[in-house]
Amino acid sequence: MTDRPSTTKGRRPRTRLRRRVSGAIALALALGTVGVAYATVAAAATPKAQVASNAPSEDPVEIRKGRQLFEQGCITCHGRNLQGVQDRGPSLIGVGEAAVYFQVATGRMPVARQEAQVERKEPYYDEAETLQIAAYVQSVGGGAEIPTGNLRGSDENLAEGGELFRLNCASCHNFAGRGGALSAGKYAPPMDQANDLTIWTAMLTGPQNMPVFGDNQLTEEQKQAITNYVQTLKEQGDPGGAPIGRMGPVPEGLVAWVVGIGAIMLMILWIGAKS
């Protein structure tokens, strides 16, 4: 830029400038187009409500299979007649198939070792086996049933679901279902992997230290609304960029210091370096 061509020199540099400008415009347009194209593609992938169709059967064959599985995997802690074993595991009489489904489908049962809180793992049993065990436990003691049908309702209920979620759930699971700490090593787990059915069965049965939210307290419509809210929240994009965990100001402060101040420190080191 130091030896700027005088105006009389005329056309050549101007065309070069024009070429550069048009190149820049083309680049900007290309960027825009990519954005629009992505938007259209992304729009096609609409989240769908999950409908539970896999209710456990009352078929005696299934129950017998469930019993076999129970006697192989569960009996040491929960006892031959589901009555529980002192210091090992609680009685399962009356917990219902919903509780079995939650515990087994999330891999919490069978438990590897006793800790402050049983952790979510890769499930040991597949879906069919889980339902068989559930059917067996239900056949012995009864209790909360696995819900069937539409677990999310319609999208009309999202705002209501949000209010209920913030009143009943967010205090432990955080505003975006990302979990939180409880007293002395216990915690409310993140709901990242929870599907509609585990959310429902958790509310119905209050696993571990979670309070129970029975149908008289949170109606089925309200549970649909909560489930719909949680799952929609998980599925929807973050309009403001990387969500950094959706955990509020702690990760934000970390980013401000490490990324923000860090980057600026590198810059001043560079600016201050002798050239």
Partner: protein, 354 residues
């Protein structure tokens, strides 16, 4: 320090010894040297980065700087285009809107980085390198300035005669104080007398318990090990005030759990139901992280832990007082009702609280 135009009041500034006519005949660089001297600046090192113009290295440096400004231009242009073109409205059925802000931020950043880098690289690669030394003068004025100023101040003070007039001294001091009060007194409009609301909530004898979605609560509604946030049932909507001070956590214990009540509060619960203020006695957050097996209630703000089985006694963390307990019973129609307001102030401690 006879220099009256204020420029050379500090000692030691080397004044260029050339007159204006000679100065005009100097080269621009020498003129700058002389001009700097007036401000106590000596350019000790000055080096053209490219003594031979038009070398490959110079062109490369120039291109780098130019590239930065091109990036600034392109970024700003892309920002404008994206701002106009990209879909931006929230739409529940697609994620396309989620790209709007990141793309805007990115293009804006590219533009700003380009411009900033361009300017800095220009300074680092092209602008003639220099090192200058500027004189810095002592932290205090010249002795004669100090003394002459002091004389002026003292003389003026004498002229007012205030030292000899104690009456004026006092009256003046008094009126200055009063004028100061004029600035502060109107702030009295902010002051409100606390009217004992801190000791009262929306609960009274016979007030029914109502959920956030305005349902009355009956004993069968909550399962064992369940909790429900309740408010005093009113005809009109829940005001923020009521939500802030009357919110109560109704808990149904698990079979086998029993609460050891405080003295005089043996009858506050109803069968396996107990009701406590949800407002933490520490800093006022809703303490509502209930562990149904251990009976512990945790406050998410400062981790105070209350043991409900010991009647909400604080067992860990900074809270010092148990959560106030609401006396409840069931009325003739089978709904939960409060038997009276709390017998103490809810929420965080304050001075007047006994």
């Amino acid at each position: 320090m006879s220099d009256v135009d204020g420029r050379h009041l500090h000692a030691g500034t080397p004044v260029p010894d050339v007159d204006l006519e000679t100065y005009r005949t100097l080269s621009l660089e020498d003129q700058a040297h002389e001009a700097s001297k007036i401000d106590g600046v000596t350019i000790t090192h000055r080096r053209d980065r490219f003594p031979v113009p038009g070398t490959k290295a110079e062109k490369r440096a120039e291109r780098v700087v130019a590239l930065c400004f091109v990036a600034a231009f392109v970024g700003a242009l892309a920002f404008t285009v994206c701002y106009v073109v990209l879909p931006w409205r929230y739409d529940i059925s697609s994620d396309s809107y989620a790209w709007f802000t990141p793309v805007l931020g990115l293009t804006m950043a590219i533009s700003l980085f380009g411009f900033g880098l361009g300017a800095i690289l220009w300074a680092k690669l092209l602008i003639t390198e220099e090192e200058s030394v500027q004189e810095r003068h002592g932290g205090y004025s010249e002795q004669e300035d100090r003394e002459t100023t002091a004389a002026i101040v003292s003389d003026g003070w004498d002229m007012t005669g205030i030292a000899r007039r104690p009456l004026l001294q006092r009256v003046l001091g008094l009126s200055v104080l009063a004028l100061g009060a004029l600035a502060i007194v109107p702030l009295g409009g902010l002051i409100k007398k606390p009217k004992g609301e801190l000791f009262r909530t929306g609960w009274a004898e016979g007030t029914r318990l109502m959920t956030g979605d305005r349902r009355l609560v009956r004993p069968g509604d909550i399962e064992a090990g369940g909790i429900e946030t309740v408010f005093p049932a009113t005809e009109e909507g829940l005001s923020m005030q009521v939500r802030a001070d009357s919110v109560v956590l109704l808990i149904r214990l698990r079979p086998g759990q029993t609460v050891t009540p405080r003295p005089d509060q043996e009858d506050y619960g109803w069968q396996d139901y107990v009701a406590f203020s949800k407002i933490c006695t520490h800093a006022g957050c809703p303490a509502s992280l209930y562990e149904q097996q251990t009976g512990r209630l945790l406050c998410p703000c400062h981790q105070s832990q209350f043991d409900l089985l010991q009647d909400a006694k604080p067992v860990f963390g900074p809270a010092a007082r148990p959560l106030p307990k609401l006396a409840i019973t069931v009325d003739d129609e089978g709904y939960f009702v409060a038997r009276r307001d709390f017998n103490e102030a809810i929420g965080p401690s304050f001075w007047e609280r006994p």
